[in-house]
Symmetry: C2
Subunit: 374 residues, 2 copies
């Protein structure tokens, strides 16, 4: 089996992460932040350590970390928590439905939405002309989950700073795969998933919120603080983490970040090399239409002539045990731009666990499939 669906989730969790989970199931099963006893405090300390590790990893010392169940919840919290009727928001056409469907909902309550249809890196160059008096927020993914293109986050951050706009970056595909520096890029809010590049188990994501930003909560409930008060407290993170937090997934995230910190340069170097090799290997096949660029971050999407992407993905799975993802990848507007709404595209997404030989096998499979069809 060859796994090329790392943009959906990383398949191989480091032994360090697995050990942390096994350890946590023995020692850290109590409820942090609810009681004052030793078992609760031990877990609370692990959660605190992970919050600090997240801040350091993304260079967000002026940010707080709100843990969520996934990146989608983090994006919903950032967008629904900030925007009100009459506000204007600018987003790229590369955004995922976890942004686009939220914006579509907000349109119905009077939020104005502008979508910039340029290539992702040029989003920054087209941003200024879209800014209006009521613009409050700019949303741009750091890396496209469809093409592997990346945004010019430093320039976006500069413009947002100049115009006093809140810059929300979707880090789902960037986290763990490239250097993300919230301070340098002036990112106000940053959403991440644990189970992709950060190598945690599923069940955790997070939103990093710069100090001073006020959000409305997505949900209400017990915070372990100020329990007498029926009004949801607005302290970050407590007021935004109602109910029992996913402590064991969070502990696994801490271990994932520890692993990455120790191996970051090696991971990035290998992923860059594999990305280039993948891109050029597929680019050589003249029966493919490639939607990615040569400096892609871990993702190459393509179609084979007029073949439906789902059919091709099924053949790769069933005949060659190669796992890729077909369809629209929950990002419909970029497919509209690529004119692939009907066919979708086949997405190959690697991580540092992949090997050159696996890419060679993919190329061979595609050649064989193509020749059997013609």
């Amino acid at each position: 089996m060859i796994y090329f669906d790392n943009a959906a989730t990383s398949l191989y969790k480091p032994a360090h992460v697995k050990r942390a989970v096994m350890d946590a199931m023995e020692k850290y099963t109590a409820n942090p932040g609810r009681s004052g006893h030793i078992k609760s405090m031990e877990v609370a300390e692990k959660i605190y350590d992970t919050r600090e590790a997240v801040k350091e990893f993304f260079n967000g010392s002026n940010h707080e970390v709100i843990f969520t169940k996934n990146c989608t919840e983090a994006l919903n919290l950032a967008i629904l928590g900030l925007l009100k009727s009459g506000d204007h928001v600018i987003a790229s056409c590369y955004e995922h439905n976890s942004v686009l469907r939220v914006l579509e909902h907000l349109k119905s309550i009077g939020v104005e939405v502008s979508i910039i249809s340029s290539d992702l890196y040029e989003f920054a160059d087209n941003l200024e002309r879209e800014i209006k008096e009521n613009t409050k927020m700019v949303i741009c993914t750091m890396v496209s989950n469809v093409t592997g293109e990346y945004s010019n986050s430093e320039k976006i951050g500069e413009i947002c700073k100049l115009y006093k706009l809140i810059y929300l970056a979707d880090g789902a595909q960037a986290s763990g795969h490239m250097l993300v520096d919230l301070k340098k890029s002036n990112i106000d809010m940053f959403a991440f998933a644990g189970h992709k590049g950060l190598l945690s188990i599923t069940g955790v994501g997070g939103l990093m919120v710069k100090n001073g930003i006020e959000l409305n909560p997505l949900m209400f409930g017990g915070t372990g603080t100020d329990s007498e008060n029926l009004i949801q407290p607005k302290a970050i993170p407590e007021g935004y983490e109602s109910g029992t937090i996913p402590s064991i997934p969070i502990i696994s995230l801490g271990a994932g970040i520890e692993y990455i910190n120790k191996n970051f340069l090696k991971i990035i170097e290998k992923e860059e090399d594999l990305s280039k090799y993948l891109y050029y290997s597929l680019k050589k096949l003249n029966f493919l239409t490639i939607y990615s660029k040569c400096d892609t971050k871990n993702v190459v999407s393509f179609n084979m002539k007029n073949i439906d992407s789902s059919y091709l993905a099924d053949v790769l799975n069933e005949k060659y045990s190669i796992c890729v993802r077909a369809g629209l990848h929950c990002a419909p507007l970029i497919h509209k731009k690529l004119k692939t709404t009907k066919t979708g595209a086949v997405r190959v997404s690697i991580d540092f666990n992949n090997e050159y030989l696996e890419i060679d096998k993919l190329v061979l499979a595609l050649k064989t499939i193509y020749s059997s069809l013609t």
Copy 2:
């Protein structure tokens, strides 16, 4: 160390659950419901099996299961998803802040809220007189997290059926500790936590929704279905599980339910015996005020004379390594009824892993503390 904080979370996870998590970290790390390849389908099958196991466990064959991150998200989804300005809702004073703070928020947008202050079992007897023309929903916890009292769910269900009201039951404390039968009790929506009586790791809860009930989603995003459409689909569960679901916590929940199914009678019998033993052992201590009743479900709360509950819990933790929870337990209105808002109460919550000897040790510790204070 003696652990008496099972109402917050169960400390000891069965070997069967731990093995399932370890197994899942090897085999089931792909993203279910996102791609069509073998690794994704294998996880999807495990998730499907767990949904079916949940339905069967709670006898909810007419319900669908929406997996959430915890019970709080499930309650928020049920309440915020259903109620609109102008609706009336009736709840018990035993509800947790995961209900009360949601209702407090809804008051500000024009939802009418009635709270019934009777004892929990008598909620049913007092319900009918509170029903108005615009009453839409009745919310009642099955077991109080403060006193261990239980509700008369069959009678509540009958009344709700008669008046065509939606009956939402909070099963956080009931699940895994007593027989819950959605059909028999005519429960329309049922919220549960995985990590308490159902013995899963943290990171998963769920809302069971009777077929035909329509809800607005709490958040928007990728559902792996109908990706071209910017409008959030309303299919249950997909439309309410945006983003990557907590697949590994869900798999652990499946294993927890398997374990309980095999041992349910033994678990319930032991917990009933321990509950009685705990109640009568503490009742004998005339320097305690007990807030629970003799047929309590796993919880006894009390105070010692005029001593602040947090102080007493700290002494139990530090000097006797006994873990209990003090304060208001995120349920302020029942503390108001008990007149314990200022002091809080000490809560002892057992599960089937506790032993009689541990209760004896608690009694001894309380006697020693009391005599040292007088």
